[in-house]
Amino acid sequence: MTKQQSKPWPTVALALISVVLAASPGPDAAFASAPQLADAAGNYGITGASRIHFSVAQVGGGGIVGDFGKFSGNFRIDGNNIGRSSVEFTLYPESVETGESRVEDFLKSSAVFDSATYRTVTFRSTSVRQTGPDSAAVEGTLTARGKARKEQFSVKLTDWNSRQISFKIRGSIFRAPYGMDVGTPIYSNVVEFDMNIKGQKR
């Protein structure tokens, strides 16, 4: 049985980012850590200190977990209208890390990302909707393996100062529509993204 076994399933990828900020000033302590919209407004580049983590559950518990080591992107926080903020993000599947080289090779192979043919996975936002004082929902187009689909991520502000801002971003992406359904139903069709995105003001 295996060497393949060397092979497992997949992941979809993407990521995104976005932004939010809590505009509300107010005395409420919950808002105290959120920056004023005007303070946070600006263009940011996503730094290497960010973390793009993903997981794919498997039957019986556990699953595949990993990170993408190479990515790039930027986002803009609109100081006048958060809804007009935007984000662009590029992920390089070749940089996937899981702690098991056979799993990584499988993820890079034609069974999943086919990174030799499709070198990047991209996300480009189409709308940003504030959902709370420090949270937002970012919708956009995720493109992987040549297929583009609308996806949504939730964004939560976690830290900020005058030069940097950090977000916790989560999203559940179905991988089958991107032609990455290998391994189902042993491995879930859903890839859970849990990302810490750090932006440096430009």
């Binding site: 393949q4 076994q5 092979k7 498997q58 039957v59 056979r102 799993v103 069974a111 042993i186």
Partner: protein
């Protein structure tokens, strides 16, 4: 009819014999195919999972076959066999029964020790838990080699077993092969006349 008689095999033994034979030959062919490195990784992953599910099926049949062999009546050897032939055939049969258990068990050990930790999802129906064995690359390699060597040994023994059966059928013209094909009491060298089995004189 279902159970063995004094001089013939019952249907249970015959069905188990041929079912296990077909499954084993199919699994060995599948094992060869799925190890081809040039194989499409998606197909390779699927072949491994099919191999595991059919392997567990053989294990179930083989366990039942072993119990049946232990507790059911053992037909007398075909007349005309020398003591050496009887001992050789009995040894071969026991070895084959042991190998049909050992090969899938070794395969189960591969899946259980593999650092890939791929669940054994029996025909996408239910999860068969891993054996309580430590996972490591060394253990996986050891059990992979053991699984392969035992499978090759089984293939060799099956070939010997089949050649002996054909030899008995075509050259010795005795009942060795025929009685694993039917439970009828009259076989080669016999014909039915007037509702009674009458031995044909040479």
């Amino acid at each position: 009819m279902l159970r063995n008689g004094k001089s013939n095999f019952g249907w249970m033994t015959i069905i188990l014999h041929w079912t296990i034979a077909v499954l084993i030959l199919g699994l060995i062919a599948l094992g060869f195919a799925m190890r081809r490195l040039s194989l499409d990784p998606t197909l390779q992953f699927s072949l491994y999972q099919w191999h595991k599910s059919f392997g567990f099926t053989v294990l179930g049949f083989a366990a039942f076959r072993a119990a049946w062999h232990l507790f059911d009546l053992k037909p007398q050897p075909t007349a005309g066999l020398s003591p050496l032939e009887r001992r050789a055939s009995a040894t071969t049969h026991v070895l084959l029964i042991v190998l049909t258990l050992a090969v899938p068990l070794a395969g189960w050990a591969v899946a259980s020790t593999s650092t890939l930790n791929i669940p054994s999802f029996y025909f996408d129906w239910f999860v068969i838990p891993h054996l309580p064995m430590a996972k490591s690359q060394a253990a996986e390699n050891f059990w992979t080699s053991t699984h392969a060597v035992l499978a090759y040994a089984t293939l060799g023994l099956v070939a010997l077993h089949a050649l002996a059966a054909v030899y008995h059928h075509l050259v010795r013209r005795d009942e060795v092969l025929a009685r694993m094909l039917t439970t009828r009491s009259q076989r080669r060298g016999e014909h039915v006349k007037g509702g009674q089995a009458i031995a044909k004189r040479k």
